[in-house]
């Protein structure tokens, strides 16, 4: 999937008193570029979800008012996850966050889903490493030295994630788990999901690949704003299983480029996504394993998900997804 509007900044759209919460956009096939009709969109928050079947028309367009379909409780949450899915495509989710007194908003978003076909591993790897692609900072942006800024952002954002990952290795650390920052000359762009996943297969041990883009713009108040669009791509380990892509956006004044707040938030999301990736990899492998191995793998997935949920607050992003996966794993464990 590609995001054609490079830096759609949800938080900016939400700033101030936004009008009614509106979600609209268009879903396209990333390869054929044709509109996709009948896509399912799931809206997830802590404590519930709402599925919209056949959400897109023949032009791939979707538009709806959240207030008409979600309970008030969901609209009060700090974050909401939108999952776009269709059989045979890699599901993509967008994390929406809102400021107090603002509404969730996503307007005229163009989403491209990548078919699963043609992106299967020839030799399933070991799923032990989280790879970090360098954040892309386009030449010609307002930043003084894009190359230097690219290095700074990538290093800064990766510097804290290792500490989080030490924590998630509970209760049973996966062997040889590691975080690997890829070089600045890596040609793969995080926005090209199909390419990222193929790259993941080439790496042999990729559990997931994370990266993003960053740039600047002037706000209405003429303040320079740094904008991030980050993506976490879970590499589907087993043929026929789909991966997951998650995207979230953030913005902050350029003066706070190295703010720990942003690094901490991103690292927390990376960490939580990593727990999901580990559990999903174990679940996927369990589905094709013999009975004994299946139980071991499902138990492992369950332990990881339980451990992460035990530590989560109610209003934190991804809690609904972790809980859903846990129920799925528990269901699979039943005799």
């Amino acid at each position: 999937m590609k995001i054609t509007r490079l830096f759609l900044i949800v938080l900016l759209l939400l700033a101030g008193h936004a009008e009614a919460a509106t979600i609209s956009g268009q879903v396209m096939d990333a390869i054929s570029r044709k509109p996709m009709e009948g896509i399912e969109i799931s809206l997830k928050w802590y404590g519930g979800d709402h599925r919209i079947r056949d959400a897109t028309d023949s032009q791939g367009r979707f538009q709806f008012q959240l207030a008409q379909m979600l309970p008030a409780e969901a609209l009060q949450r700090r974050s909401l996850n939108l999952l776009f899915s269709q059989q045979g495509y890699i599901a993509e989710s967008i994390l929406l966050e809102r400021l107090p007194d603002a509404a969730f908003n996503l307007n005229h978003e163009r989403i491209e889903l990548t078919p699963v076909e043609g992106s299967s591993p020839s030799d399933p790897g070991s799923y032990t490493t989280l790879y970090v692609l360098p954040y892309q900072v386009p030449q010609g942006s307002n930043l003084s030295d894009p190359q230097e800024m690219q290095t700074l952002i990538t290093e800064y954002l990766t510097s804290g994630v290792d500490m989080y990952l030490q924590e998630i290795a509970v209760p049973a650390p996966i062997e040889n788990f590691g975080l690997q920052s890829l070089g600045m000359d890596t040609e793969v762009k995080i926005s090209n999901t199909a390419r990222v996943i193929d790259f993941g297969y080439q790496l042999k041990d990729a559990l997931a690949i994370v990266g993003g883009r960053a740039g600047t713009r002037l706000t209405d108040e003429q303040q320079e704003q740094m904008e991030f669009s980050s993506r976490y791509v879970i590499v589907p380990g087993i043929e026929g299983q789909t991966g997951r892509v998650m995207r979230w956006d953030d913005a902050l004044p350029t003066g706070l480029i190295s703010s720990r707040m942003i690094a901490d938030r991103l690292n927390r999301l990376w960490g939580r996504n990593t727990v999901r990736a580990i559990a999903l990899a174990a679940y996927n492998r369990a589905m094709t394993a013999d009975a004994e191995t299946k139980l071991v793998l499902l138990k492992k997935a369950e332990e990881f998900l339980k451990a992460e949920l035990r530590d989560a607050g109610t209003d934190e992003p991804l809690v609904a997804e972790l809980d859903e996966l846990l129920q799925q794993v528990k269901e699979a464990r039943k005799p």
Binding site: Q166, S258, R310, D311, G313
Partner: protein
């Protein structure tokens, strides 16, 4: 990381006293098998602090490791059988050059080898002129059975009670990443020091071969202005500066608080000296000087125009990093010094900061609640509102965690008998995780209590209605 060798610097060994907290350093080099003589092996409870990573080469990784080591020792200086080990690369080598991704594993390997159930490690970075210190702590409960247990028992050692009621829960979290602390060199290193029990040598440069400037006797106050590696730069009386190794000084807290208490100021660190004035202390006060005496520590502080010595136990120390309070709280908890543990976890909660992860804050509240429950001789005397408020806060922070509700069961049955609330809490715990071993253990225990004859100790304390008994039975059916 199983290929570490540690060269033990026994010559640098510093034991503060036979009965109090002790410190030791070990150096490690990757590339050879773990081995060598274990340090502080005579002590029951130890932690390993690993030199802090310094990826940006601020020059402070080593200093902060030493600082946290000495502060932790000061925090537990009166605790018998406790010790702190600092693990550092030999000489002036930086740990980041030796270890990269394996830093945490190395800290754990060393802790395991030294049979220390607590490992603390961290990192220092610079961010636009500010210093950012990250700290993390890992517990190894498998070492010397040091799980964080909360155990209440009706057994009275004076009574011949053959059928005691015992309730037990575990605080299961073992890994903690603390919120980063933004600080400055001045706040970390500009402070008072006291020479250790073996005295201290002052040198012209920060290395052990530099010219000796002076030799000071034990328990002599010094003023530090900065730190370089393992060496404090201190002011001398003649206005010159010299260096003293962190391993040869005690590091009192930089500041103390007293929560509005009236505290007696004395002319000297001695209760027999002239009493100056009673002063109400309701702020933070910098420690100007201190002394570690047989009967306890003394601090010299200034409050407004009043300056004098106060007894250490009358005030609450404030260490450089909230992590030091957490670590000190763990030491006190394991040693069953629950009143001081409550104070240390309270200090941690107060200072932990808005960026503290839910899991860490929830555990701090759990530990403070447990300390409040256990510090009384009879749990019935515990401050009900304070205990339940802490457990409620923990539940709000981590609502999916069954251990919050297990602890509520313990409190509601063992201290403030409310069978109905206890049962609801247990149901909640098992709804979150039907396999939670603590909750299952508690369900079995409740079932036993409900089955007991009316005249036993159990039933005198706790009475379930027939309806509640049925609900308990449902909980014990395997799912």
């Amino acid at each position: 990381m199983n290929q570490l060798i540690r060269t033990l610097f026994l010559s640098m060994m510093l034991v503060l006293s036979l009965n109090s907290g002790a410190g030791e350093r070990v150096a490690f080099i990757p590339g050879a098998q773990i081995g060598g003589e274990k340090v502080l092996s005579h002590l029951k409870l130890k932690s390993v602090i690993t030199e802090f990573l310094d990826p940006q080469n601020t020059g402070l990784g080593k200093s902060i490791g030493y600082l946290v080591w000495r502060e932790t020792l000061a925090a537990i200086s009166d605790q018998a059988g406790a010790g702190v080990i600092l693990a550092h690369p030999p000489g002036e080598q930086r740990i980041v050059e030796l270890l990269r991704q394996d830093y945490h594993k190395a800290a754990l390997e060393i802790a395991k080898y030294e049979e220390a159930p607590i490992a603390l490690w961290g990192r220092v970075t610079r961010d636009q002129g500010r210093l950012i210190v990250d700290t993390a702590c890992t517990l190894l409960p498998e070492i010397s059975d040091t799980a964080l247990k909360v155990r209440l028992s009706t057994k009275d050692p004076r009574a011949a009670d053959k059928d005691p009621l015992t309730l037990q829960a575990v605080i299961p979290r073992t890994r903690f990443s603390f919120a980063w602390v933004e600080t400055t060199r001045k706040r970390l290193f500009e402070r008072s020091l006291v020479t250790g029990y073996a005295g201290a040598v002052l040198r012209a440069e920060p290395n052990k071969n530099a010219r000796k400037v002076a030799t000071l006797p034990a328990n002599r106050g010094l003023q530090s202005v900065d730190m370089q590696g393992a060496w404090f730069r201190v002011h001398l009386d003649d206005g010159e500066t010299a260096y003293v190794n962190a391993g040869s000084v005690m590091l009192p807290p930089r500041e103390v608080t007293a929560a509005g208490r009236r505290v007696q100021f004395y002319r000297n660190p001695d209760k027999g000296s002239a009493k100056l004035k009673q002063v109400k202390l309701n702020s933070l006060y910098q420690v100007l000087d201190s002394r570690y005496l047989r009967k306890g520590v003394w601090y010299r502080i200034k409050a407004g125009d009043d300056e004098g010595w106060v007894e250490g136990w009358r005030v609450t120390p404030r260490f450089s990093l909230p992590a030091v309070h957490f670590l000190a709280g763990l030491f006190r908890y394991f040693a069953q010094k629950y009143d001081i543990a409550e104070q240390e976890f309270g200090q941690f909660i107060e200072r932990a900061g808005a960026n503290t992860r839910n899991r860490v804050m929830a555990t701090a509240y759990q530990l403070r609640a447990a300390s409040r429950l256990l510090k009384e001789r009879h749990a019935f005397d515990a401050d009900k509102q304070a205990v339940l408020s802490d457990l409620e806060k923990a539940s709000r922070l981590t609502p999916y965690d069954p251990s919050n509700y297990n602890l509520q069961v313990i409190a509601q049955l063992g201290a403030f008998p409310d069978e109905s609330k206890a049962l609801k809490a247990l149901q909640r715990a098992l709804a979150l995780d039907a396999d939670d071993p603590t909750a299952l253990g508690l369900a079995k225990k409740l079932s036993k209590i409900a089955d007991r004859p009316r005249d036993t100790q159990y039933r005198r304390l706790i009475r379930f209605t027939p309806q509640q008994k049925l609900e308990i039975e449902k909980l014990t059916i395997p799912r």
